[in-house]
Symmetry: C2
Subunit: 396 residues, 2 copies
Amino acid sequence: MELATIGAIADNGVRRLALSKEDGQARAKVISWARELGMTCDTDPIGNLFLRYSPADSGSLLPPLATGSHLDTEPNGGRFDGTYGVLAGLEAIEALKQSGHIPRRPIEVVIWTNEEGSRFQPAYMGSSAFIDPDRVGHFLAIADKAGVTVGDAMKVASAYYQVDGFRTEATPFNAYVEAHIEQGPVLEETGKQIGNVSSIYGIERFDIDIIGEAAHAGTTPLSMRKDAVVAAVQVIQALSTAFVDDGRIRFTVGKFEVSPGSATVVPESVRFSLDVRHPDQNFLNDVPKVIHATVEKASLPCASKVRSVVSAPSVTFDRALRDDIERITSSLRFSAISIASGAGHDARYLAEHCPSAMIFVPSHKGISHNPAEFTSAKDLGNGARVLTDLIVSLTQ
Amino acid sequence: MELATIGAIADNGVRRLALSKEDGQARAKVISWARELGMTCDTDPIGNLFLRYSPADSGSLLPPLATGSHLDTEPNGGRFDGTYGVLAGLEAIEALKQSGHIPRRPIEVVIWTNEEGSRFQPAYMGSSAFIDPDRVGHFLAIADKAGVTVGDAMKVASAYYQVDGFRTEATPFNAYVEAHIEQGPVLEETGKQIGNVSSIYGIERFDIDIIGEAAHAGTTPLSMRKDAVVAAVQVIQALSTAFVDDGRIRFTVGKFEVSPGSATVVPESVRFSLDVRHPDQNFLNDVPKVIHATVEKASLPCASKVRSVVSAPSVTFDRALRDDIERITSSLRFSAISIASGAGHDARYLAEHCPSAMIFVPSHKGISHNPAEFTSAKDLGNGARVLTDLIVSLTQ
C-alpha cells in the first residue's frame, strides 16, 4: 500500500502514467526494496527493469526464471492492476530467502514499461519490444498528447533511480509466470480463490459505418427513409444472434455515434465499434467473414462499411506450467479454476519467448481501471503463496 | 429570388435568423413590395407584420381573410421554407389587382415572427403569441446564446423598416390559408402537384435513459453484464414492433449517446431521443403508456427512465376550406392529394383562432432546412395559383 501513495488520487485511486515522474518514483521505491533483498537491477532500451536474484550457488549462467508485471496505471486507475504482480514477485523472493531455499537458477522480477497504453499507444510496449527489439526505435519516437516522446519521458522517469547494468539483447528466460488481479467478476461470482489462466482471449475489433440519408423526422414516411439508427439496431441484433453466447464469447458495442444527432432529424449515419473476443483461435478466424456478411445484409436499405482496427490472436499458456499451478493450488487446498483472460497482459508477448503462465486473484465486483478496484489482503496473499511455491518448484 | 440574396450563404443557402439584421432587411424589402401594391403594414407586440390590402369598397370593417408565413430561416437554411408563403400571398394580391377583382373583405398577408425557433426557443413565437397575448412578456425576455433578448433583437430588426400602425389585440380573421413547401418527399414520389393539407401531426417526444453497469469488455462474461447499448437496442426493437408502420406514423431515434463511449468498456448508460408523430390524436393519446410499458420491460436487466419533452396535439384543418381547395385544384386540373403535415407550421396556432388550411407544393427529394431545398418555378406558380383562386373564392 506504500506504493499506492505515489500518484495517489481520490477514493484510493492511482494515477501513475507510463514514464511519468510518478512512475519513476514508484520504480525507485521498488528497486530499493529489491536491493534490500540482495537483488540487482538492469534495464534495456525500452526501459524495462530486471530485478535479479542470483545468490551464490544459484547457477548464474542458466537462463533465469522470470516473474513480474507493470507499475504504470490508467489515468483514473486503482492500486492493484500490475503493481500486484511486481510486489508478489518480491514477496516470493523474500519468502525464498526466509525458507533458506537456494534456487538452481537466477530469478528475475521484471517491471515492464507502459503496459496500459493510455499515455503512449500502443499498450504492452515494454514486453512487445523485449521479444522484438526491432520495435524499439519506432516506440521511442511515439509522443503523448503533450508532444513528449517515449524517449524523452524515459529520461524523466529514470532520473529517479540508478541501474546496475544495461542489456542490449533479450535475456533468454527459462519460463515466465505473472500474478495479476482478474479484472473480471468470475472468481468472485464462482467463489474461487485462484484462477489458473489457460489462455488470453484473442480480439477482433471493428469500426462499422452505417450510411443512410438525413431527413425531416416529421415529413418523411418510414417507408421512404434510410434511417441509419434503425439499420444499426438491426445490425447489432443480427450480430447478437450470429454470435451465440457460449459462455466464453465477449461481444461489446462500446461506441455508438450518430450524425447529425438531432431529435428531429432522421439519422444520416452511425459509426459504432464492435469488439469480439474469444479464447479459441478457430472461432476468431471466422469472425471477420461473419461480420462482413451480417452487416451487409442487415444494414439494408442503408449502405455499410466494416473496417478492422484490431486483430490480435489468442494465446494459450504452457500446459506443464498450468499443471504445476494446479498441483500447487490443490496441495495448498485453495479453490481454483481454469480461466481464460479476457484482458490482455504482458504475458501475451512473453508466451512467444518462453513457456509462460499466469495466476489470477479475485477482483471485487470485477472492477478494474478504476479507484474502486479491490482485492482483499487474504486473496492477494493466496496468489503470492501460489507464485512462491511455483518458483520454488521450478528452481529446485 | 431577390429575397434569397439577403442572408445568402454558399450553395444557394440562406441564413436569416429570426430578428437579425438580415431578417429586418428582408422584411423591409417585402414591405416595399407590398406598398407598391397599395398595401399598408401594421405590427404587434411580438413583431408580427400584417400587410393589409383593403381597396375602396372592400368592406374594411369586416374581419380580413389572412394568408402568409415567415421570413426567418434555419442557420443553414434554404430559399423556400416560409418565404414562399409570404411571396405567394403578395403574388395573389398582384393577380387580384390585375384581374380587377374587388375583395368583399380586406386581405392580409402576415409575416409571423420567429417560426423556426433556432435562434430563440420556442419556435412559432409570433403565431402562438398572436393567439395568446399572455405569452408576449415571457417571449420578449428570452435570450439567444449571445445573451440578446427577443425584445432587444426586435429593435435591431425593426430599425430597417417603418410601420403604419400598432395592434395591441389579435385581429379577428375570417380565415387563414398558408402556402408552404412540403418539406417531405410524398408529393414528388407520388407525382402530385398540390398537397391539400388535412392536418398537422401531433408530437410525443421523449428522452429515454438506459442505466446499466460499466465493465471491462474482455473480462466480463455476457451473462454477468448490464450492457446499456444491448438493452437500448432491445428497447428500440421492441418500440419498432409496438408502433406498427400504418403509413402515417413517424418514429425517429435521432440522438443516441453512450457513456463512457469507449470500444473496450461495456457501456454504463445510453440516452436516446424518441420522437413519435401521428395525425390522429386518439393514437397519440396512447403513446406515452405504450412507451413506458415497453421501455420498462425491454430494458431489463438495465434500469430505465422515460421523460416527456414535447407533447403537442395534432391539428385538423377546416373541412370547408379543404373542400374549397379540392374544388379549385380539380377545376385547374392540378393533380392533388390530401396530405398530413409532419412538420409544424404557424397554421397550427391559427387553427385555434379561425378556420385554417394549408396548400403544399413539392419539395425536391423532400429536402428542407438545407441549402439544397428546391421547388421548381412551375410548382411554386401552381401553388400561388391555387392560393389566388382560393382568395378570390373566399372574398367574392
